[in-house]
């Protein structure tokens, strides 16, 4: 493992049982590295296994094959997450921040308490200082005036921003984001992207972002990973992917390239929707 690699995902396989009991491979040999300080974006269509990958990365789901090696600044050497005991895993998790798809705030606690909880539980910081840290974190996501509200009184975008403040409460080394801008209006979504870039610069964190919003992906990414039905199609720099997006479809020869070109541009027609390039609807029409 290279020295600046923080997470090395190697041939990860994850299966879920289908209704008839046979296993469905949701992740099928996923391999890529995450480098220190970068923002890496994992893209892919709905249901291609992005959330599943994230859950495997944070140790929430056990993998069925392959390895996920962590080498954080606090670790003397790289460790496979599936070989960690519960307490080792918790030690690692204290240095990870996760923004869930829905925000996942603790609904019985106020906004301020949501952010204070991890600090209170994992550090011996005195109460007065915790107040200050909470204020600071809320200011960072521009939610300070909502500090005494309950989560049920917040909008979806506000919940995500509080979730982000909570994820950064313990100044994590690595931040994971599951669909940070999904379901938000373009302005709020751009504001969240700004926040992600801001945090990555200010806190010097490594960010792993899972999304299917292409505008957002191209705004924040240093490098990108393209997933399709549980397989990695391509890992590359943002420039690589920009070139691929801007290429006219008929100049692309490889099937995967045309597939990604369609996805990155959000075309309704292409190899993703049909192997022959015609949509199901069109075929029905021509078939009468």
């Amino acid at each position: 493992m290279e020295s600046d690699v923080v997470i090395s995902v190697q041939e990860v396989v994850k299966t879920f049982p289908r209704a008839d009991g046979t296993p469905a491979r949701v992740l099928d040999g996923v391999t890529f590295d995450v480098h220190r300080g970068e923002t890496i974006v994992v893209m892919g269509g709905s249901g291609c296994g992005k959330s599943t990958l994230l859950n495997c990365l944070i140790g929430e789901l056990p993998v069925d094959g392959g390895r996920i090696l962590y080498h954080t600044a606090r670790m003397p050497s790289s460790r496979d997450i599936s070989g960690m005991s519960e307490s080792e895993l918790n030690e690692l998790r204290k240095h990870l921040g996760i923004l869930f798809q829905s925000g996942a705030l603790f609904n019985s606690m106020s906004v301020a308490d949501n952010i204070a909880l991890p600090i209170r539980e994992h550090s011996s910081v005195p109460a007065r200082l915790i107040e200050t840290i909470v204020t600071l974190k809320l200011e960072q996501v521009r939610m300070l005036e909502h500090r005494d509200k309950m989560p049920s009184q917040l909008s979806g975008g506000q919940k995500k921003r509080v979730g982000l403040a909570r994820a950064t409460a313990l100044d994590p080394e690595i931040l994971f984001y599951d669909e940070p801008s999904a379901g938000l209006d373009p302005v709020t979504s751009a504001a969240i992207d700004e926040l992600i870039m801001d945090l990555s610069k200010k806190l010097l964190v490594t960010s792993v972002v899972v999304t299917h919003e292409m505008d957002s992906a191209f705004r924040i990414a240093d490098r990108m990973v393209m997933l399709d039905r549980g397989r990695v199609l391509k890992v590359g720099s943002r420039a690589d992917f920009e070139a691929l997006r801007n290429a006219p479809p008929d100049t692309l020869t490889r099937h995967e390239e045309r597939l990604m070109n369609q996805f990155l541009n959000g075309y309704g027609r292409g190899p993703l929707t049909d192997a022959t390039g015609t949509s199901e609807f069109e075929r029905l029409i021509t078939a009468g």
């Binding site: 030690e91 998790r93 204290k94 869930f100 829905s102 996942a104 603790f106």
Partner: protein, 289 residues
Amino acid sequence: MADSPSSGSPVPPGSRLRTAVEAVGEAVLAVGRRGAATVRFAGEMTVVLGETARWIARSLLRPGVRFRRDALAAQMVRVGVRSIGIVALVQVFIGIILVLQLAPTLESYGQIEQVATVVAIATVRELGPLITAIVLSGFAGASIAAEIGAMKETEEIKALRAHALSPYHFLIMPRFLATVIMLGGLAVIADVVGVFGGFMTSWLVLDIPPQTYLDITQAALDPTDYLTGLFKAGVFGVLIALIACCEGLNVTGGAEGVGLATTSTVVKSIVALIGVDAVFTTVFYVLGI
């Protein structure tokens, strides 16, 4: 539909016999599946019990681990204090019913005052803990299952783990302890109120002198009666808390799943409570306690 006599199967398709055989087969399979599900659920309850016990021990023994007294207090209020009224009301009715049902029989033996003995024993050893537990399974069990289920659905439990916080320490332990402690406390209240209901009915309806009733009650009960009753209450509390927490943690499928978990908690609790009570009563009977 005409049965064809030349059919290859020994039982012709569509015949009554075949339908009956199929129905029996289906029923046996269903029982088998039920049994397997029950064994699996019991396994899950054991895991939850083990984890909860581990966290209780940790927070008592390790200086760094918080006992979270405020959360426990909040849960005790929620589980217990709010159900005192209903438990008392139900138990008074039970006292009244017991006395009026038993009175004619005892009177024919010329032993009408012995109604006090029966009420005392039945309430303290049996009905106090059992009825309280049944009320609490609807009251606290269902709401704990719904709450934990909703937390699972909104990814709150996942978020706790992601922050290196144990849901057992944060959510299950205070609810578990609160249910066990409050069920014990409520059972004591139920005993008193149940005997009081019997006492008032005996005095006002059967004209049994109050002093006689109290003397007989006192003579009827010995410490083992209280202890077996309290012991049962504690075990019932453990059962309700474990069933509710397991159901909550198992929730999938959104609001509908949460609804199913609450119903299932009440049904499973009542069956488990009465089943376990029967076992205990048998054991106590055999041991002569």
